[in-house]
Symmetry: C2
Subunit: 407 residues, 2 copies
Amino acid sequence: MSDVRMRGFKQRMEVRRFQALIRERIRPLGVETIDLACAGRRVLAEHVVSEVDVPAFSRSAMDGYALRSEETFGAGPYNPLSFKVIGEITPGSVFPGVLGPGQAVRIMTGAPIPEGADAVLMAEYASESNGVMAASEAVTPRKNIGRIGEDIKAGSQVFRSGRCLRAQDLGVLASIGVARLQVRNAPGVTLLITGNELLKPGEKPRGAMIVDSNSLMLTALIERDGGRVADVRHLPDDRERIRDSLLNAPGDILVITGGTSVGVEDHAPTLIAEEGELLAHGIAMRPSAPTGFGWVAERPVFLLPGNPVSCLAAYDFFVGLALRLMGGRPESWPYRSARLPLTERISSQIGRVDYARVKLVDEGAKVLATSGASALSTTTVADGFVVIDQDSEGFAAGEQAKVWLYD
Amino acid sequence: MSDVRMRGFKQRMEVRRFQALIRERIRPLGVETIDLACAGRRVLAEHVVSEVDVPAFSRSAMDGYALRSEETFGAGPYNPLSFKVIGEITPGSVFPGVLGPGQAVRIMTGAPIPEGADAVLMAEYASESNGVMAASEAVTPRKNIGRIGEDIKAGSQVFRSGRCLRAQDLGVLASIGVARLQVRNAPGVTLLITGNELLKPGEKPRGAMIVDSNSLMLTALIERDGGRVADVRHLPDDRERIRDSLLNAPGDILVITGGTSVGVEDHAPTLIAEEGELLAHGIAMRPSAPTGFGWVAERPVFLLPGNPVSCLAAYDFFVGLALRLMGGRPESWPYRSARLPLTERISSQIGRVDYARVKLVDEGAKVLATSGASALSTTTVADGFVVIDQDSEGFAAGEQAKVWLYD
């Protein structure tokens, strides 16, 4: 068995075929009903139709005086017209009477227009003393009045299912009286971090032991992509313990790091084949070749390389895609991008995707590293990365490339 | 008093002066020490120097065989050279002996190189049976060996103070054995949501009462900018209750919405002047004119208009800036932007900043609204916004404008 596993990958799957396989197999999760206050950045899983008009009453758009507009006609700075101020109305209250001829009601922004009035004169064009207001400007009917349903009409669709809720969306949902709403479940991910050589984050490296750098990195990436970490398990390279977690760990999706290649301690690929389906193992990508994808106990399982740069790239190419699909989000990367000239050439092989880390310099983007899967510091010194597609032999010096920015 | 307040703003401060005032007055907060696991997106407040080499030992970069490279010279597919396999070494363990002439040790990626070996032959170029390995390729000294400190050298500076920590940064910090680290405090914000007309989010609008749409929106924006909400208080337009919160509410910064203009119920500006300093009130911006900034009880206080579009724009122009400065983050907006032609002209007044909501269409960006401070739905139908600077009279149809994208 161990000798078979020491042979290397016989063939490597194309990155785009691997991604197509993910799109074929991964389906959006179910839905849950949550409080509006928790709905920021969640994906709506229902069409929202407003049951109410916003505003539900005519309201003043200004601080000023509610009056009958026709009675202001002819008013001007040198021809002020007088109105009797019969009261004041502030937001949240309703004027008890009806406004009659020659009368005005002092009114604040947002307060309901009193019956009998059809316009609001801005405070700037009014002066008041001893209960009499002098208007120095004429207003037309409906001037400075917010109509019923001006913001949102009762019966109108406010949001469609699938929308990722923005800050202001929460405000609109509050304004139409929504208390709870249906959203797509956030995919729960269990991380199985395997390797006899691994210490947990927070420990000091010692002897032949190194500290796991993948679990914290993956946790941050999973949260960025709308997922949540259901559990993190640090496991030794112990076949039966890995098998047990493969079958029994919580979560909608499992991500196994380490032990995913073809070495003697690489149990995960054969375990997936034994307990379910190993759909892909080994990809034409540098770094990240020892990446895999399978299905066990009715859920997807990803195998990510233990080398941290490979782990980061494989997460971004495959697991992030799966999480966004499960969560009903757009497929596209959450990184910003910019087209920039490369300061030197990058060469790659046809048939293989390369993940080159680059630094922004005055002249454009400078390549820091294309190999070095174990040197995570190349991704922290870098400002972003360039993907060299499988159909490309690379870029010439000075050629424009799409740079994906880590920030 | 109420008559004075009904006069409108006598003069309006330029937006850029208001922002300069914020930069003058706001200082970064203090620091705290937190667990590495909680440090994602936090701002580092110390330089981090590694105490260790990563890796701390020479390790194999491949699955294969550790051996003496000079003994492989001349090996090829038609001239395999034999080695006696004297053991196996996996990550986390140390080979107990010293490799002698003609010997090889089976080694996995990440395992320490045994004493006596100076290279690793990839498994793909080796075949093993009955304890003998046949090498079909020659390797040069140090081939497939990760050097001590190759990723990070002991004594080197890994991150500078001020860095906003990315996913992969957490991995690097774990790998050098960091357990806790110093980060800038996240600014705590108390929201005072004032207005007799306001119901709390989750309630149904009724009569002259409307539902507060600002608190949930602001909470999401504050979290985006690295702040945390210390408290949310819904208060009626009651001078003494607002005063009490102004003086006694928790948080590094207060944000008051509603009652910030010049109407009879607009208590906040005069309260700030009574209890501290009202540094600015009324700005040359549409919407958001009734925005203010002051200092009470040794902390900044912002006055934001109650109208939700004004509240959103004023948050983004001023409060977000203050929070990012307090948290040690870059000043720039967290929105992506794109240069796009406008489908029609927008006109604005010299001296005033306009916040125009736009929708992306095939031809570019279409203006949806420049006024309508109360219609929050204009910001949810829109894909982004265009800022018309105070020195500009607007844009001609077809002219390129910088569009800030809400997503």
